[in-house]
């Protein structure tokens, strides 16, 4: 078995997000190599009934989005159907700017986001960045799954919006980002 087949096998078996770190350890390979292989795999699966979703840290095997009607009828797990405006706003800040500190989220929204963040954490839509010592928030794979994507940058204008934001912050204020 080659590394690609091994990854397929493991993430199928696990049935939940698996980190590149874990895969790298199991397969005695570098995280970069794992990540690159996952990207290839995701591409291989793009026309299949199963997809691979992934982000910077982890990946998971899931059902393809276009069959969601049929699958949702069989599903007994809890799913989100709607998000409040506060949740949506906070989520999109983390989505486009994450990893991001709570102080920056509060700065942009002009209100205290403690409770909104807590709600999103409880629902498993965001998590604390495991690679950072400071408490920084990132989105979980669940968001990508709810959006029916393989990865975040498939969102319309994802890169452009990220760039626009970075540019704004760079131009505008020396000390806004702390």
């Amino acid at each position: 078995m080659n590394i690609k087949q091994h990854i397929e096998s493991i993430i199928f078996f696990k049935g939940q997000p698996v980190t590149y770190k874990e895969l790298a350890k199991l397969l005695e390979n570098s995280e970069e190599k794992i990540k690159k292989t996952v990207e290839e795999l995701s591409f291989d699966y793009k026309d299949k009934g199963i997809h691979i979703v992934y982000n910077e840290h982890e990946c998971e095997l899931v059902t393809a989005p276009s069959g969601s009607d049929l699958i949702s009828n069989m599903n007994k797990q809890e799913v989100e159907t709607e998000l409040s405006n506060a949740s949506l706003e906070t989520l999109s800040i983390i989505l486009y700017m994450g990893p991001i500190a709570r102080s920056m989220i509060d700065f942009i929204r002009g209100v205290n986001s403690q409770f909104t963040l807590r709600t999103l954490l409880i629902r498993g839509l965001i998590e604390k960045d495991p690679t950072s010592k400071m408490p920084l928030y990132i989105i979980t794979l669940d968001i990508i799954k709810y959006l029916g994507l393989n990865k975040l940058d498939e969102l319309p204008n994802f890169k452009e919006i990220r760039q626009e934001i970075a540019q704004f912050i760079k131009n505008n204020s020396k000390d806004a980002v702390q």
Partner: protein, 244 residues
């Protein structure tokens, strides 16, 4: 206009959302000019909020003070702002521009969200369960972890949206601006604003006077710095000027 605000009071999550909405309603771009134009509307809203929703007011006051600063600056170009005040204004513009991007982006997210969801496997192959504890588990550790959870409970249970910006009372804010302006033109409005009990009205009067001075409709004169100031109509025949 007041009823319009009253209806929408609940909708706004915070001062920045409100401010953005005021600017967007007038189809303006985010800059000092538009901010200065919506200042009075913003203060109107704050005064409604003051009566209804006291614990949210502090969030709005800090933004109100920045707005009054901007407005004063637009009326009195010679007003010299400190670095801190300049940063405050720049930051406000940046925050609004970012919030505008995110509000738009979150609409896009909302359209996609939970429409074509993908699913994990329903059932992972049943594994044989072997009892595998570790020496990390003992009574004291379990107690310690529980205590950690208790310790991390969010404290402000009754006030979900605690203020994040620095606290400043309406009064302090007003005095701050007045003192800044005082250095540039000798105007005081003690007598003029005495009948106003609401602080917001004092501020509005103040801004109105500034605007009239700028337009040349009134003249302000003063004996010495910090003396009371006389505000006189320049032309007695001129009808009273509406300042919106």
């Amino acid at each position: 206009m007041s009823t319009d605000f009253a209806v929408s009071t609940k909708v706004f999550e915070g001062p920045l959302s409100l401010l953005l909405d005021l600017i967007e309603r007038r189809k303006l771009l985010i800059n000092e000019i538009s901010l200065s134009q919506v200042t009075n509307d913003f203060l109107d809203f704050v005064s409604i909020l003051e009566q209804k929703d006291l614990h949210k007011i502090t969030d709005f006051l800090s933004i109100a003070s920045t707005l009054i600063l901007i407005k004063s600056k637009s009326l009195l170009p010679q007003l010299d702002l400190s670095n801190e005040e300049d940063t405050e204004i720049e930051d406000l513009e940046l925050r609004l521009k970012l919030l505008q991007i995110f509000k738009l982006a979150s609409k896009g997210i909302n359209e996609l969200f939970a429409k074509e969801t993908t699913y994990s496997r329903l059932q992972v192959k049943k594994q044989v369960i072997y009892f595998t504890p570790t020496d990390q588990i003992d009574v004291l550790k379990m107690k310690w972890f529980t205590d950690q959870v208790l310790h991390n409970f969010p404290k402000s249970d009754k006030k979900p949206e605690k203020r994040v910006t620095k606290t400043i009372s309406l009064e302090e804010m007003m005095n701050k601006v007045i003192n800044r302006v005082h250095q540039h033109m000798s105007i005081s409005f003690n007598t003029l604003t005495k009948e106003h009990k609401e602080k917001k009205n004092v501020i509005i009067s103040f801004l109105a006077i500034l605007e009239l001075v700028k337009l040349g409709n009134v003249e302000a004169s003063q004996g010495n710095t910090f003396d009371d100031i006389l505000v006189e109509s320049k032309d007695p025949h001129l009808p009273s000027y509406g300042t919106h």
